[in-house]
Amino acid sequence: MTATLIRTLLALGMLSLAVLAGVAIGETPIDPLVVLQVLANKLWGAGYALNPIDEGIVWNYRLTRALVAAACGAGLATCGVILQSLLRNPLAEPYLLGISAGASTGAVLVALLGVGAGLLTLSAGAFVGAMTAFALVVLLARVSGTSGGAGQIILAGIAGSQLFNAMTAFLITKSASSEQARGILFWLLGNLSGVRWPSVWLAVPVAVAGLVVCLWHRRALDAFTFGVDSAASLGIAVRRVQLVLIGCAALVTAVMVSIVGSIGFVGLVIPHAARLMLGTGHSRLLPASALGGALFLIAADVLSRTLIKGQVIPVGVITALVGAPVFALILIGRRNAR
């Protein structure tokens, strides 16, 4: 028990340091001490005399951005773990399975129809899109091959991604003004620049709740190691667990997509690294992946802001630049394992 407590504190410490670094590093570097003073002012009314512009940048722009990046990374990595374990496929993750694309279509549809462009309605639209996409992809994989080949669902995911991306593009071209279109396209690539406090209040609780639900089902996730029948014979109510956890993954993905667009490969790279370091048990794999995802996306965001002076690269581009080679490595590794 004490070991768990120490690990949790250690994880939170690392996370805090990463957020601090994410806030301090940027086009105009801000002294970490100033960052801490801003936090002290805002949280406890410490009353340090600070430059109000610095204070504004730290509190309203950088901190929200770092927190949403952390939540988003943690959420997507958790989704990756769920999907990989339930589908027994090391390549499964929201982006490659078309869930992110479906969520994008749903969110864009809501935004363009003007059903209300609030964060919650966007997320709801994205959730419906995500579930639809996942159902379609699973159906296609089932119909096209009963052998349950590992590649089948990824191929189906590619088809699903293409379909939903095309639908999104169609919707934008048909209904969006050129200004809207520019905004949406930039958001689609994965973009953290628009986030403010309301996004934080949505992203952080959803990421934490997703992690808690998964941890609650950690033994069930372990039980899927040898397949669905094996899980059932170990006393797992397979259908219910699948429904709850896939729903959870779709919801987390949908919320993250509606806030920052579709960011790929986080759910692939991080769980894979966590498995290599910690083994297969979900009681450690899940928190480690969530932490890793948070750190990874904060780092990716810092890179996206600093790599090219005066320009912001969409964070999805950074994650893909790291993730695609990892995807290739896993593919090669699987071949060698045969």
């Binding site: 033994r219 069930a220 372990d222 190691t225 397949g227 014979s233 006393g235």
Partner: protein, 254 residues
């Protein structure tokens, strides 16, 4: 006393009738073998008895209660299954694979206890696999994997053990070792078997043919030369082993 039974059990996939009107009572403590040609429904019967598939007709009773009325969890606390060739790509360790057997006894909030630890070690010891406990799944041979599967089932501490051709794809030494281990276990055992001479060592045998139960009883009374000709399509006669007086089947194609 019957610990597991079924009546009027039937199962079909689309138009193909895989099982038809099976009545079977498994007695407490016995080793009941299931034999039959390929495709006769052995695996399907085990899956239905374990509640892994829902029957099209009839019902399964576990300790007097209908399977459909029991939760998956309480079924798993009484009955464990060793599937044919369940595999994984995960780099899971042997100890952790066997520890999965404790799943039905643990809830989301209950921590892993030293008692669970002891049960897993005992299960590994029972199948003579204690020395494998730190190895990864991928590094195991087919026979070692099968023993780990059986250890996982034992870690469930079931009253009933269902095994689907556990000796398949094993070399002869491991076939005999696993069979001996299984039969020495203090649980009621239902075991699908391919090798008829191995089946002779069971307490009772059930013979399946095209999804029907065609014979049930003591091995030597069930596996008569006529039955072997009708069901398996082979000529058979019994020899007596001069070493211990046991009956051995000699089989020839017709």
């Amino acid at each position: 006393m019957s610990v597991l039974s079924c009546s009027g059990l039937g199962f079909r996939v689309r138009d193909a009738e895989l099982l038809n009107d099976i009545d079977l009572e498994v007695r407490l403590g016995e080793t009941l073998g299931i034999v039959g040609p390929n495709g006769s429904g052995k695996s399907t019967l085990l899956k239905l008895l374990a509640g892994l598939r829902a029957p099209a007709t009839g019902e399964v009773r576990l300790g007097g209660q209908r399977l459909g009325e029991l939760s998956r969890r309480s079924i798993a606390q009484q009955l464990a299954v060793v599937e044919q060739q369940a595999d994984t790509d995960e780099a899971i360790r042997v100890f952790d694979a066997v520890a999965l057997g404790r799943t039905p006894w643990l809830s989301a909030l209950s921590p892993w206890s030293s008692e669970d630890d002891a049960i897993v070690r005992q299960a590994l010891h029972d199948v003579d696999a204690a020395h494998l406990s730190k190895r990864t799944w991928r590094s195991l041979s087919g026979g070692e994997r099968q023993r780990v599967h059986i250890a996982r089932a034992l870690a469930q501490r079931p009253q009933i053990l269902l095994l689907d051709e556990p000796t398949n794809h094993l070399d002869i030494q491991h076939q005999l070792a696993i069979l001996r281990e299984v039969q020495s276990l203090p649980v009621t055992t239902l075991i699908a078997l391919h090798d008829l001479n191995q089946a002779l060592t069971c307490d009772r045998l059930a013979v399946l043919d095209h999804g029907r139960l065609v014979a049930l009883g003591k091995p030597l009374e069930v596996l008569t030369p006529q039955r072997l000709l009708d069901t398996f399509g082979v000529q058979a006669h019994y020899l007596t082993d001069p070493f211990d007086g046991a009956q051995i089947l000699r089989l020839r194609s017709t």
